[in-house]
């Protein structure tokens, strides 16, 4: 993969564009897999509780893409090449995409747009309040992801997009709070998050006090 990718870059923009298209399609694979299960392709199913299955899968992929987005900078530093940066925006937008589907799944399929229940859950269930907060913080990042916005915001763009650190921590917290007793997986996500954020702290410290 790495050699191939390096070759692609040396061969120019055309190969990179092809690669981006491939990654784009790969990012849609989790959604396609849900549809395939829903349609019973190859005997696969969404299980006995399909709404829960879809809700959880979409939430999980939202978090996965957030972590992938955070992994771009460390990857660039480790391999010493800039090409991973070319994928960061796409990965971030896919995090937003899956989080949005997760939210819609909850509103429409799980709650059946029952507004009273939705309002009560957001107000009374801390894990939902935190999920909503994480989502609301993600919205401005998605909105300002265009080249135009990047130019317009200048230095402030970078500051604004540091919000993603808060979003991922809130997302993990949301996950930790919603499991009944088995916290192993949320803790795994927490470990990954702390690893990725810790790397940033470390590089920052190295830069300021060498």
């Amino acid at each position: 993969m790495r050699e191939w990718t390096c070759a692609a870059i040396s061969e120019g923009r055309h190969r990179l564009r092809l690669l981006k298209a491939a990654v784009f399609l790969a990012c849609l694979a989790p959604l396609a897999a849900l549809f395939a299960r829903g349609l019973g392709v190859g005997g696969a199913t969404l299980g006995a509780n399909p709404v829960e299955f879809v809700l959880h899968a979409l939430g999980k992929w939202g978090l996965n893409f957030l972590l992938l987005t955070l992994a771009v900078s460390p990857l660039r530093a480790i391999i010493g090449r800039a090409w991973p940066l070319g994928f960061r925006r796409m990965l971030g937008l896919f995090a937003f995409f899956y989080a949005t589907l997760h939210l819609l799944c909850w509103l429409v399929l799980d709650q059946g747009l029952y507004l009273q229940g939705i309002a009560a859950d957001i107000a009374k269930r801390p894990f939902i309040t935190i999920g909503v907060l994480a989502y609301l913080l993600l919205v401005p990042l998605a909105v300002t992801s265009t080249d135009r916005m990047l130019r317009r915001l200048g230095r402030r763009w970078k500051t604004l997009h540091r919000l993603v650190y808060a979003v991922v921590l809130l997302g993990v917290w949301h996950y930790y709070w919603l499991v009944k007793a088995d916290v192993r997986e949320p803790l795994f996500y927490l470990a990954m998050t702390l690893l990725l954020l810790g790397w940033r702290v470390r590089t920052r410290l190295r830069r300021t006090c060498p």
């Binding site: 829903g38 006995a48 399929l109 801390p126 007793a181």
Partner: protein, 318 residues
């Protein structure tokens, strides 16, 4: 399918005197023959799950107007943390579990205590089928055609003393057969308990089968409780011990999170779990577009059981 069986509770399929483990065992051969016939006549008996069927009568008092969930849903979507915390884990990982031979330890405030072989425990009890709603504390529900007998009939045989105010139950904890035990998500073994009047209530049921078949491992083989007016975690599975006690026994989920799970755990749409609403539930099998339905007090069994809790503050005793 249960709906095609005789609806009257009195029309026994076979005489109750025949209902000994031995006769069930003998009937196995008939089922083998039936299975062969099914192979020759495709579509005739295919709908029922494989294996030796149980002999039982249908109790028509329960389940009128309810459509049972599919055998597939009931046996693949389970909370049985001894086999893992995922809903599909029990179906996937309970294969090594051996529900036979089995024995039951009876202890505490009763005249007849000791260790009893499962066959001796089951022998006197004619089996009946009851279609009960099952409401999980996670706000989903199912309808299950259980086969078993009233818990009261079992408990009375041990002659509990007047000091027996509660009954405590314990689930098996066999690490080599139950891979979920390797992770201490709960304080093993799993324990549950009831007030004696709850345990003696006619709705309280011991299940040894479902859909006319012996209980699959993931559903709590070889015997489990079914308490349809309480959240599912009260219906303890794969029971190895019953103890009559004078004081309220500890219960696993209450010990793990006392703010979230009470001793009584009666289905109550008015008292939310701190992390989710109990007002509405999702009926398994309703599909991706199935709407939630309102949850009923005592899971719809209020008429039968509400009097057990007369005068109690159910917000405090949740």
């Amino acid at each position: 399918m249960p709906t095609t069986r005789p609806r009257s509770g009195h029309s026994a399929r076979i005489a109750s005197s025949e209902l000994t483990p031995q006769s069930v065992w003998l009937r196995r051969r008939e089922f083998v023959l039936a299975g062969l016939a099914a192979g020759l006549l495709p579509g005739v008996l295919r709908a029922a799950p494989d294996g030796a069927g149980l002999s039982y009568t249908r109790n028509a008092r329960y389940g009128a107007g309810e459509t049972p969930n599919s055998y597939e849903d009931i046996t693949t979507y389970n909370n049985f943390y001894e086999f893992g915390t995922g809903k599909e884990d029990p179906a996937r990982r309970a294969g090594r579990f051996r529900p036979a031979p089995w024995s039951l330890r009876i202890e505490g405030e009763a005249d007849r205590t000791g260790v009893f072989a499962l066959e001796d425990i089951l022998r006197p009890h004619p089996l009946e089928e009851r279609v009960y709603r099952l409401r999980c504390v996670e706000a989903w529900s199912m309808v299950v055609p259980w086969v078993g007998f009233p818990l009261a009939d079992l408990l009375r045989r041990f002659a509990p003393t007047s000091r027996a105010k509660y009954v405590a139950f314990t689930t098996a904890a066999i690490p080599e057969q139950m891979p979920g035990l390797a992770y201490r998500v709960l304080d093993w073994p799993y324990v549950e308990g009831l007030r004696i009047d709850e345990a003696m209530h006619p709705l309280a049921f011991v299940a040894t089968g479902l859909y006319g078949q012996p209980l699959p491992n993931q559903n709590g083989a070889p015997l489990r409780l079914v308490l349809p007016w309480k959240y599912g975690f009260k219906s303890i599975k794969s029971i190895v011990a019953i103890r009559f006690t004078a004081t309220q026994p500890p219960t696993s989920w209450n010990r793990a999170a006392p703010r979230e799970y009470g001793f009584y755990a009666n289905v109550n749409p008015a008292v939310d779990h701190p992390r989710w609403s109990q007002a509405r539930e999702r009926r398994i099998g309703a599909g991706v577009f199935g709407a939630r339905r309102p949850t009923l007090a005592f899971n719809g069994y209020a008429e039968e059981v509400a009097s057990l809790y007369a005068g109690m503050d159910l917000r405090r005793h949740f």
